[in-house]
């Protein structure tokens, strides 16, 4: 039986137990919009609209590749990682807490307009799951696998398919940092041959498969396929819970921007990584959950006004994902806007004198339309 306890920093856990979950109202006037509750499992509606802190060591362990670029820059400037607790995330966490893991995995699709916080909601859920001790399979952006690929090799396993060694090895490296202890404990159930001479025996820890993929970059995509297959087969036993978190799932169905050497277009099924990921996102396994995000910003050949699942997934994708739980993510509510504005003021991000006045605040609210990304972009130069 695997250890369900908190996988991360024991020091962080001790620090938490000493600070109780009361909110900061009674303490220093530091912030009505901050909360000292750093464990996503304990977030309730009371914490809605508030920002919670993730210790920097946890950020490096849990999110080697998941966070958006602007958020990473913000973490570096402010020296802390603060995530806002919002309603869609709370709904998802409630669903996850109440789900029955003997049933097939439930699929959740987070959708919304551009810049409303879908990726951040996904990161919140990933943080919760890693705190609870789940095995997190986080693909930061599936669109990166269907465009801008420098090397496409013909797969040795199946003649029709194409391999992507660079993307696969980058993903394996990040997967290794985030799930160290699981790789040691999960054993393979079959013998795998890598080319003519190398093979991994049955019963070896998964870590060897990952290291094989990293050492021999040519077989990295096959290593990824093996990892996904093993995790799917072993998750129903109940020794660990599996979370499949895919950002930009609409890349798996649709078109790619890649082409073969004879300039003919490549369809997503012909890529090994996409093929294996599609199998992972099917709900024919139990013992975990699948949380995905739709994304128009990285998508190919889709109009910029499309944001609903029907438009972005297309017929094929919608049928494949069919029984799913849709979770819309709206723009900031007035309370969330106040909270975000107050946080920027407190961290001295809004330096302009007029930004501290009521007029400046009203202008920011109007210009951004309460959209989180627009607010962040506007507050940059101010």
């Amino acid at each position: 039986q695997l250890d369900h306890g908190c996988a991360l920093h024991a020091a962080a856990r001790d620090g938490l137990s000493s600070v109780s979950s009361r909110d900061v109202l009674a303490e220093r006037p530091r912030a009505v919009f901050h909360t000292s509750e750093s464990d996503p499992a304990k977030h309730t509606e009371q914490h809605e609209g508030r920002l919670y802190n993730i210790p920097l060591e946890e950020v490096k362990a849990v999110f080697p590749h998941g966070l958006p670029h602007r958020f990473q820059q913000q973490i570096q400037t402010f020296n802390e990682a603060r995530l806002m607790v919002r309603k869609p995330a709370l709904e998802l966490l409630a669903c996850l807490k109440g789900s029955n893991f003997a049933h097939p995995a439930v699929r959740y699709v987070i959708y919304g307009e551009r810049g409303t916080g879908k990726t951040m909601t996904l990161c919140h859920v990933v943080h919760y799951c890693s705190r609870q001790g789940w095995l997190v399979l986080h693909i930061p952006d599936a669109h990166l696998w269907v465009k801008n690929c420098k090397e496409l090799l013909q797969s040795s396993y199946n003649k029709d398919r194409l391999d992507q060694p660079l993307q696969a090895s980058a993903w394996l490296k990040n997967f290794k940092t985030s799930n160290e202890r699981f790789l040691q404990e999960i054993k393979t159930q079959k013998k795998y041959m890598w080319g003519k001479r190398e093979s991994t025996e049955e019963g070896r820890p998964l870590r060897e498969v990952v290291e094989q993929g990293l050492a021999r970059v040519r077989s990295a995509s096959d290593a990824v396929g093996v990892v996904l297959r093993e995790l799917k087969q072993q998750s129903h036993r109940g020794s660990f819970r599996l979370l499949v978190a895919v950002d930009g799932v609409n890349a798996l169905w649709g078109r790619t921007a890649l082409s073969k050497e004879d300039k003919s277009p490549v369809s997503p099924e012909e890529l090994t990584l996409v093929h294996n990921l599609r199998k992972m996102v099917m709900n024919d396994w139990s013992g975990g959950a699948i949380v995905t995000t739709l994304s128009q910003t990285g998508s190919l050949f889709k109009p910029s006004s499309a944001y609903t699942p029907q438009e972005l997934l297309g017929k094929e994708g919608f049928d494949a994902l069919d029984p799913f739980v849709p979770i819309p993510v709206p723009n900031y509510s007035p309370r969330e806007f106040e909270s975000c504005y107050g946080y920027y003021l407190e961290r001295k991000w809004l330096q302009h004198e007029k930004a501290h006045t009521e007029d400046g605040k009203a202008e920011l609210r109007f210009l951004s339309g309460s959209n989180p990304r627009q607010l962040e972009r506007l507050a940059g130069p101010l």
Binding site: F78, K348, W349, K354, T357, E363, G380, P381
Partner: protein, 215 residues
């Protein structure tokens, strides 16, 4: 205000637009005679179209707009404005990182407001005295002359932009280079300040010809 009489095609009836909302929000009692007359005139006379640079935003800064216009190439204001906002953000990030890492007693000395840094840097770059070519007896001399405020501002901005465009590595982005130069100018270091000092030295060297100036 100086009205462009010769070149504007507007009927002299037309009044200038007013972007700020304070004059309109003042109650009637507080207005002086002229303001009351002005308001009455506005109800009857037509108003000119506002130029695109005029903005009613509280964050609008005329110096920043002028600098953005000077950075603009072939009318691409969108690009110039985005470069300007990225520069301000880069300055802010660098200063905030320094601020958060500094010990308590030094925190007040670090200036984080990018607008304050920009204004101060430009002021530090402005030359006090300039040179002009005056031809006397067949020879041209470099004569030191006083500069107007507009000319000083223009020279400072021009030097900053040319310096950033020419003396940078092929792969560095303009916002990064500009933020570097602005921070150096804020501390009175850097190539632009050196250029200003060179100009001052030339003017000092040519003091003898100062009497050639007739205005």
């Amino acid at each position: 205000r100086i009205m462009p009489v010769r070149w504007s095609r507007y009927n002299p009836n037309y009044l200038e637009p007013e972007p700020k909302k304070e004059p309109y929000q003042k109650p009637l009692e507080e207005r002086t005679e002229e303001e009351r007359e002005q308001m009455d005139l506005k109800t009857v006379r037509p108003i000119k179209a506002a130029p695109p640079t005029m903005s009613s935003s509280v964050f609008n800064d005329p110096l920043i707009s002028k600098f953005t216009n000077m950075m603009m190439k072939s009318g691409n204001k969108v690009l110039a404005r985005s470069l300007m906002s990225q520069t301000l953000e880069a300055i802010k990030r660098k200063q905030l990182e320094k601020y958060h890492k500094a010990p308590e007693n030094e925190k007040e000395t670090i200036e984080c407001n990018p607008y304050v840094i920009f204004h101060q840097a430009l002021k530090n770059c402005q030359p006090i005295i300039g040179l002009s070519n005056i031809t006397k007896g067949g020879k041209t001399y470099q004569v030191p002359i006083p500069l107007t405020d507009n000319r000083k501002r223009f020279l400072a901005m021009k030097w900053l932009i040319t310096e950033c465009r020419e003396n940078k590595h092929r792969r560095t982005m303009m916002p990064e280079k500009l933020s570097q130069e602005l921070l150096l100018a804020f501390n009175n270091e850097g190539p632009v300040i050196k250029k200003k000092h060179v100009l001052h030295k030339m003017a000092e060297a040519n003091r003898a010809y100062a009497h050639f100036r007739w205005w």
